[in-house]
């Protein structure tokens, strides 16, 4: 027997001591709340909301997404086409305009030529899908920030929302919308955007997950409040999902 720090204690006292120590672990049981159906949804919503809040904090306006050499590009034929509905919603290019509304000085319908008049930017950036795959693509277009300035968007507005010819819809926080790599894209791999890739105009946002990068844009709104967030977000996906 070794030397003990105190004199022997009674067995019953030892059991009581053990019971007390066991009860101190009660907080672990609180995690069981996640197994209760009525609590699970709000708890997970709060958890995802916290992650989105952290994502927004981590976003840095001046930090650029990595860009790549042409030799790193995924061949155009191997750039996946992801839709929720149809590959080609049948946009009539001759009649197409981008309808701008909300907190802007110059609302109205903008033609493709008007948008193309802004400085053209080309970049090789990574496109990451929420499913887990990623590709490196070549995208050309105009900076969304340039377009927002040209339409006199209220810089204090918090969100940009877009609607698409295939009834898809999305939203963006203003900080990401103003990021220099966020493009209104009309060319991929030096060719006009194909219908499957979102002709005539799509979003390219290297700082966001794929589902944020809406195709076949028809409407753009600058707003202080958000109703619907996005097609996937409103089904339970992350609202911010910054990369």
């Amino acid at each position: 027997m070794p030397k003990f720090m105190s004199s022997p204690i009674d067995r019953r006292k030892f059991r009581k001591m053990n019971r007390r120590e066991l009860l101190k672990l009660a907080p672990v049981v609180a995690l069981g709340a996640f197994a209760i159906p009525s609590l699970q949804k709000p708890l997970l919503k709060a958890g995802l909301g916290f992650s989105d809040w952290a994502s927004a904090q981590l976003f840095r306006s001046g930090h650029l997404a990595p860009t790549f050499d042409d030799s790193d590009l995924t061949p155009f034929a191997k750039f996946p086409i992801n839709d929720y509905d149809v590959d080609d919603p049948g946009v009539d290019f001759d009649k197409w305009t981008l309808t701008v509304s909300g907190a802007v000085q110059k609302p109205g319908d903008y033609t493709f030529a008007q948008i193309q008049n802004l400085p053209k930017v080309t970049q090789n950036t990574r496109h990451v899908c929420v499913e887990g795959w990623d590709v490196i693509g070549n995208f050309s277009g105009v900076r969304l920030s340039d377009f927002l300035k040209s339409i006199g968007a209220d810089p204090t507005a918090r969100f940009i929302t877009v609607e698409c010819a295939d009834d898809y819809y999305e939203s963006l926080d203003m900080a990401t919308a103003m990021h220099p790599q966020t493009l209104l894209c009309y060319e991929m791999y030096g060719q006009p955007l194909t219908r499957e890739h979102g002709a005539p105009l799509r979003l390219t946002i290297p700082t966001k997950i794929g589902y944020k990068q809406a195709k076949y844009l028809t409407d753009l709104k600058v707003t202080h409040v958000l109703g619907k967030v996005g097609y996937w977000e409103d089904q339970g996906y992350s609202e911010f999902y910054g990369l």
């Binding site: 720090m5 067995r11 672990v28 995690l31 191997k78 990451v128 887990g132 339970g236 990369l243």
Partner: protein, 231 residues
Amino acid sequence: MATRAIAVEDAKTGELTEAVHEHPFIVRLCHWVNTVALFVMIGSGLQIFRAFPSFGAKIPQKDLIDWPRSLAIGGWLGGALQWHLTFMWIYIATGLVYVGYQVFSGNYRQVLFVPRDAPGVWPMVRHYSFFGPKPPARQAYNPLQKHAYTSVIGLGVLSVLTGLAIWKPVQFSWLAWLMGGFHWARLWHFIIMWAILAFVFGHLVMVVLHGWNNFVSMFTGWKKEPEYPVE
């Protein structure tokens, strides 16, 4: 070492049994909360993996394995992401609290693997794997245990860093770069999960082998009749 030892007396027979307080409360709390968090992280992670069960190109897609939905958590990709992005905070918090407590309390000394433990690892492996002679137990944790419990902290850190590189490949582009890019970070994240599962398997085998008193000590902190001499 600040091991609290007592003798427990049977009132009827007067027989004395020794007991030691082996696991401080914070360690036990972190252990069990992390157990739940790890279970959810792996389950939901596998559901996320099911959305694209490959580490190759998207076109053409060659699946690595068709992981069954029944062995995953969340039901669908969006649901699994909710679980994963919620429990990652709990997983990280328990890791930070555990390591912080171990460092500041000095309790790390009983479990941290240090170079002088190295010669003792092989005899333990031989004992468990090939039924070699059992090396005498001198401390609460034998060298193999120290190696396992120290390595798994490293794996835990790597699981978080690789996860961060996948979740934020732009904001932490340097981290993704260190791992060979987003693509590789995703593969590392997957490999590290299996390494942690290998630890869990070994850990559970040891729990079974070392019996009831040892198992109970992770709940109450007290271990009756320890195998090692109490200081």
